[in-house]
């Protein structure tokens, strides 16, 4: 694979496959609880098997992408210290910009409870930032 891989449609498709499968994993997880409530053990088991399987599907796309770009941070997946920095960047963006802004929009639009939900996520992300900062070697 040469450099043009990063600008190819295939690369973009891998990123898309990663995102869609990752989303699917959590949909399967969510639907399992509903099947469980409805007492449908066999269906629940299939949903569970599929969600377990989709982890490989998600990671399979990531295997191709890892040496080029992490789909979220746009830097290659590296060793743990590099990965901490990469994921820290996402957590900082979420806690300092994304969730506060989302909370504000929700409040402005009249969805007070959704705003509070974003507030709790902002705080959770902030705690993640603090922990990840502790794990960084070059503090």
């Amino acid at each position: 694979m040469d450099k043009s891989f990063e600008s190819s449609q295939t690369f973009e498709n891998l990123r898309k496959a990663f995102e869609e499968e990752a989303t699917l994993f959590f949909r399967y997880k969510y639907f399992q609880v509903i099947a469980d409530y409805e007492g449908l053990d066999k269906i629940r088991k299939i949903l569970k098997d599929f969600s377990d399987g989709s982890i490989d599907n998600v990671h399979g796309s990531l295997d191709f992408l890892r040496n080029f770009k992490d789909p979220a941070s746009n830097v290659p997946i590296g060793n743990t210290q590099q990965n901490i920095k990469s994921i820290l960047q996402t957590e900082i963006e979420q806690s300092s910009m994304n969730f506060p802004q989302m909370a504000k929009v929700a409040r402005d639009e009249g969805f007070s409870d959704v705003a509070s939900w974003f507030d709790t996520l902002e705080k959770l992300k902030r705690s993640h930032v603090a922990t990840l900062n502790e794990l960084k070697e070059d503090k």
């Binding site: 609880v33 509903i34 469980d36 409530y37 409805e38 007492g39 449908l40 053990d41 066999k42 088991k45 409040r107 639009e109 009249g110 969805f111 007070s112 409870d113 509070s116 939900w117 507030d119 709790t120 996520l121 705080k123 959770l124 902030r126 705690s127």
Partner: protein
């Protein structure tokens, strides 16, 4: 020599990684050791040889004795060791000597005596069998000397097995003593699953004998004592197949919840699984068919869903399988799919047959289902109206009135915190006695918060939106008005104290009611407000999911920082805060009008699947019977309006 090496390896394997064998090294693990011994003795009873099990509980040891055949002490031909020693030192070796074929043995872990032995600092065994009486002592799973014949035995009967073990505190680091209540409860429960087997439980503090003649119907009757059952007799369903024995005993009650206790091979499967779901689906199928056959014109809307079908039912399920399979770490959920079709079909067929011969009983159930359907339709309408509240900065009063009007009927029993005396005192402690003070309890509910200030003020007035709550609180407060906290019906500067508790999270844009409270306080007046807050930044989102599913009217999961900002931002000063943690019984809390059956299920799932990240900061307990108890962090704030 080579045999010794194997023995050491197995014992060490258990001691090195005990959680793999017994689930955990917490107190649950300690009790599992005891249960393992008890289940071994029950197996002797299943064989028809034991009739009595004697359990003696000391502080840091337990003894289990039965009058079964006594573990064999014959020499194992291949291994040249007494069978007894093999059972105590080789994993999974017990069944080789039990000679149980096509019998449903009890117990869950099947790890055998060797595990109990390996995890005990000291273990003493005494057996009486056709060869005589024998004893042997072990330390950390290793024999201290050979099996020794005894001339005089301490056994209560001529044959049997008696084991005394001391859980090793090097492994069970938190272990201090056995939980007496838990052991007595366990023995009582298991006695119902093993009719005609006597359990004698002794300790220095309490002695009991448990013996059931009627089996699980007796256990059901015990649960039914606390409620009103609809039928004079319990209904029983029984299935006997090659690999499965299934019995379900049940009755309908006047409760608006169900209670399903299930067991597989004598072990409590508190998370249910295929046996429970197949039973529930069988009930649903039977009821839907019977409704279609007998009352097609009287039933409107969809078929019964699974929770509707079993609503108000109290059920005990006792299943026995030759090879049960379980899911998850707690191993409390059965996953044997091969039993589903048989159980579902049989339950449906047997219940249909029962109601066809007891048509009066079916009429009672049908009327109950009709009334439940109406209530659920109403509750759904209320939930839908909550959505209408979106996008407005005030509240839709009718939504709150409807919900809290309904809840007022059982308000004080709907959660532990509502009447917790210490919690109420912690609120009142913020206010210094002032005989001239006029106080307002905002969204006063039943008035318990305001009443806790009563001896400290001249007059306490209540305000609530809901007519039923106004009527309820009038018995506690000096006067009560009906009104809205977004527009408090009193002039500015009216009160020396305003108090409220666990209210602001229910209100969209809570800064607006806070501003109203500020307005009606006199300069220097005090606002005392109690609120459940997350323990840290980590558990807020997790708690919000739970609380929002419990109560769709929740609009805020405040974080301490945000709550303080809101109060100070509203102009208040001199903030003080006290904290108090209160255990809440989640099963009671979610058994509420506004919490749908599906949400109740999902809330339990959220607790069961909580991550370690959450568990580190937020204490909660899942009891052996499946009950969930959550620790809530109450923060009680006091602020003042500036002079």
């Amino acid at each position: 020599m080579s045999n010794d090496i194997i023995v050491l390896t197995e014992v060490e394997a258990v001691r090195t990684n005990p959680s793999m064998y017994i689930g955990s090294v917490s107190n649950d693990g300690v009790h599992h050791l005891l249960y393992e011994l008890i289940h071994n003795s029950i197996d002797e009873a299943i064989q028809g040889t034991a009739t009595v099990i004697i359990i003696t509980v000391g502080d840091d040891f337990c003894t289990v004795e039965d009058n079964g055949r006594g573990i064999s002490t014959e020499l194992h031909e291949q291994l040249q060791l007494p069978n007894l020693e093999l059972v105590l030192t080789r994993l999974h070796s017990g069944s080789k000597f039990k000679k149980i074929k096509n019998q449903f043995t009890t117990g869950l872990h099947g790890v055998g005596l060797s595990c109990v032995n390996a995890l005990s600092s000291s273990l003493l065994i005494e057996v009486g069998n056709p060869l005589g009486f024998f004893t042997q002592k072990y330390q950390e799973g290793i024999a201290l000397g050979k099996l020794t014949p005894l001339k005089i035995s301490t056994l209560k009967h001529s044959t049997g097995t008696k084991i005394t073990f001391y859980p090793d505190k090097k492994i069970f680091k938190d272990f201090t003593s056995f939980d007496l209540n838990r052991i007595f409860d366990f023995a009582e429960e298991i006695s119902f699953l093993n009719p005609n087997l006597k359990f004698i439980v002794n300790s220095t503090k309490r002695n009991e004998i448990y013996e059931s003649i009627e089996g699980i119907s007796g256990l059901l009757n015990q649960y039914l004592q606390r409620t009103q059952s609809l039928f004079a007799e319990n209904i029983k369903i029984e299935i006997k197949a090659e690999n499965l024995y299934f019995e379900g005993v049940f009755n309908w009650t006047s409760e608006n919840e169900n209670l399903i206790k299930s067991y597989v091979n004598g072990v409590n499967t508190f998370l249910g699984g295929t046996h429970v779901n197949a039973f529930r689906n069988g009930i649903r199928k039977a009821l839907n068919n019977l409704i279609a056959e007998f009352f097609p014109s009287k039933w409107e809307g969809d078929h019964l869903d699974i929770e509707e079908a079993v609503d108000g039912m109290f059920v005990i399920i006792n299943a026995k399988l030759l090879s049960p399979h379980f899911e998850g770490q707690t191993k409390s959920r059965l996953t044997n799919f091969e039993i589903v079709d048989l159980v579902e079909t049989e339950v449906s067929a047997q219940l249909t047959q029962y109601f066809k011969t007891h048509s009066k009983y079916f009429l009672i159930v049908f009327e109950r289902l009709q009334s439940l359907r109406n209530t659920r339709v109403n509750a759904k309408r209320v939930a839908e109206r909550i959505l209408l509240q979106y996008g407005i900065r005030n509240i839709n009063e009718e939504v709150y009135k409807k919900q809290f009007g309904e809840r007022s009927k059982t308000w004080h029993s709907s959660a532990v915190w509502i009447t917790d005396e210490e919690l109420l005192k912690a609120h009142a402690a913020h206010f210094d006695k002032n005989d001239e003070a006029i106080a307002l309890d905002v969204c006063c509910g039943s008035g318990v918060v305001g009443a806790s200030f009563k001896h400290k003020v001249k007059k306490i007035i209540g305000l609530d939106l809901t007519p039923e709550m106004v009527a309820l609180s009038k018995t506690r407060l000096d006067e009560v008005h009906q009104g809205n906290v977004y527009n408090i019906p009193f002039p500015a500067n009216s009160f020396d104290l305003v108090c409220t508790r666990e209210v602001l999270h229910l209100l969209p844009y809570p800064e607006n009611p806070v501003a109203e409270i500020f307005r009606v306080l006199k300069p220097g007046g005090q606002f005392v407000v109690g609120q459940i807050l997350p323990f840290s930044e980590v558990d807020g989102a997790w708690m919000y999911r739970i609380f929002k599913k419990k109560q769709p009217l929740i609009y805020n999961m405040f974080q301490e920082e945000d709550f303080k900002k809101m109060l100070l931002g509203g102009g208040f000063v001199e903030m003080q805060m006290t904290e108090m943690n209160v255990w809440e019984n989640i099963d009671v809390w979610i058994n509420s009008y506004e919490t749908t059956f599906q949400h109740r299920h999902e809330i339990r799932e959220i607790y069961l699947t909580a991550s370690d990240e959450i568990k580190k900061v937020h204490p909660f307990k899942i009891l052996p019977n499946g009950e969930i108890h959550d620790l809530w962090r109450w923060c009680i704030f006091s602020v003042r309006k500036p002079l």
